[in-house]
């Protein structure tokens, strides 16, 4: 079942409704509760290839519901070291647990200083409130 609305305070957020969880020199990335709710139940994740490069603020993949398709924007730059196959196989995992089992990619950061430009939870929820 769909998760309840939440925005964990240990994540960094991008205003295009993406999040990053920093783990050493890597970051796990996904889409926020708001993004999955706006799309509805996900039925497809067009994932990047492991080993490919993602750039901050640029789309690296697509998520689709029955009604809509949306780019997924990367909050960080670096090399994709892992794609969440569980989401490729069962995209609705993102709706069930957007910050946990519904993560999308793991990235080895090429420029950790970029993290400073991301939003904390207070700033991101303000973005949502302003919409």
């Amino acid at each position: 079942m769909a998760a309840a609305e939440s925005y964990p305070d240990d994540l960094k957020y991008h205003r295009e409704h993406d999040w990053a969880r920093v783990e050493g020199d890597e970051a796990v990335c996904g889409i926020t509760w708001f993004a999955q709710d706006a799309l509805g139940e996900l039925v497809h994740f067009e994932a990047p290839e492991p080993g490919s490069t993602v750039s901050k603020d640029a789309p690296y993949g697509e998520v689709e519901s029955v009604k809509a398709v949306s780019d997924v924007v990367s909050p960080v730059s670096g090399e994709v070291v892992e794609v969440n196959q569980a989401v490729v196989d069962a995209p609705e995992t993102v709706n069930d647990d957007p910050y946990g089992t519904g993560w999308l990619i793991r990235v080895r950061l090429s420029d950790p200083s970029e993290l400073d430009a991301l939003l904390d939870v207070a700033a991101y929820t303000q973005v949502l409130a302003d919409q």
Binding site: G40, E41, V43, E62, E64, S65, V66
Partner: protein, 351 residues
């Protein structure tokens, strides 16, 4: 410039049910209540109710009503007795499809046309401009509400017995007198219920109290696409003709003349250059309207099939590529994805 959206008589109930409301053809309509996929499955497995009161109703009455409509609509109304209905097309001189609609023969000299919401005004003007002495054409859309109840349990939940499809009768459901039409847009059993607008709330509440699941336009679209039913504005339109769209069966070319019938007869004789086909993806990808199909085709509707769990769609392809089993390649935002033409409908419940 802001345009005020129209609201059906059930608007407040949709909002109270927590529906996500969206603009559609000038109306504010529920796209989903809980989710497109659960609502879709409810219709395939049980019964779902759709508010389709945004659709238009045009009343045509008079001793020459039949003659007027026979000249404008593609199907042969001469085959209808009062109490029977028919899927038919309003055609232009080139054989293009102004609208697809259902014509109900209420009485010998009295028809009701149920038309697409987005075409209501155009259809009314089209028919009104061609009105002849002895026929009176009225847009009565605002007088009626229309609720579709669809699914294998739909009739049982409403306490209705079986009846032939495309027939209708006057019934009383939960105290509301209504016209029950054995028609639908999901590929399932069920009916579409026409009631007076002021009775809509009572009817809707009664239907939901019988355990029918409220469903939005999102599920209506995925259901009709699984059933390979064309959507006017996507799959058919003024620039596409009935023969190419596989709707030649709605054109009584052998028995009467109507607007565009000569053009349609020519297309039929020569064979259409393109045909509307149903297809399923053979790779993980979801086709969407406007995507090119390799070899000179185009996707006109696409989605993810909740029942088959694959991408499905409809589109025009060169006639030589229209046979079931033909391999297609769809350009999904720059990626070439394999698909296969299938027989209609794309999905049909077993049994």
């Amino acid at each position: 410039m802001s345009q005020t959206l129209l609201k059906t008589p059930l608007h407040d109930r949709h909002v109270a049910l927590g529906a996500r409301m969206v603009p559609f053809a000038g109306w504010e309509m529920p796209v989903q209540y809980v989710g497109v996929i659960p609502e879709h499955r409810a219709v395939r497995a049980g019964a779902g109710a759709f508010d389709v009161s945004h659709m238009g109703e045009i009343d045509v009455e008079g001793p020459r009503a039949h003659e007027l409509l026979q000249g404008l609509l593609s199907n042969d109304l001469g085959r209808l007795e009062p109490g029977q209905a028919q899927y038919t097309l309003l055609t232009n001189e080139r054989g293009g499809i102004v609208d697809d609609l259902i014509a109900y023969r209420l009485e010998r000299h009295h028809y009701l046309l149920v038309v697409n919401a987005s075409n209501r005004d155009a259809d009314f003007r089209w028919i009104k401009e061609r009105e002849i002495a002895g026929s009176e054409v009225r847009d009565v859309s605002d007088e009626y509400a229309l609720v579709a109840v669809q699914g294998p349990d739909a009739l049982a939940k409403l306490g209705l017995g079986p009846a032939a499809s495309f027939t209708f009768s006057t019934e009383t459901i939960d105290g509301v007198e209504c016209m029950v039409n054995r028609t639908g847009y999901t590929g399932e059993e069920g009916c579409e219920i026409l009631a007076m607008a002021e009775d809509a709330g009572t009817l809707w509440d009664g239907i939901l109290a019988r355990g029918v699941v409220p469903c939005g336009l999102g599920a209506r679209d995925t259901l009709r696409l699984e059933a390979s039913l064309p959507l006017h504005g996507n799959d058919i339109g003024p620039g596409t003709d009935a023969i190419s769209a596989g709707l030649g069966w709605t054109c009584a070319l052998a028995t009467k003349e109507f607007t565009g019938s000569a053009a349609l007869a020519r297309i039929k004789e020569q064979g259409p250059e393109r045909k509307l086909v149903s297809f399923v993806m053979e790779e993980k990808a979801i086709p969407r309207q406007g995507m090119p199909i390799e070899g000179g085709g185009e996707v006109t509707s696409g989605t993810h099939s909740p029942m088959l769990d694959v991408g499905i769609g409809m589109g025009y392809v060169p006639a030589a590529a229209a046979l079931a089993g033909t391999k297609l390649t769809v350009d999904v935002r720059g990626k070439q994805r394999a698909a296969r033409v299938v027989k209609r409908p794309i999905y049909k419940r077993e049994g």
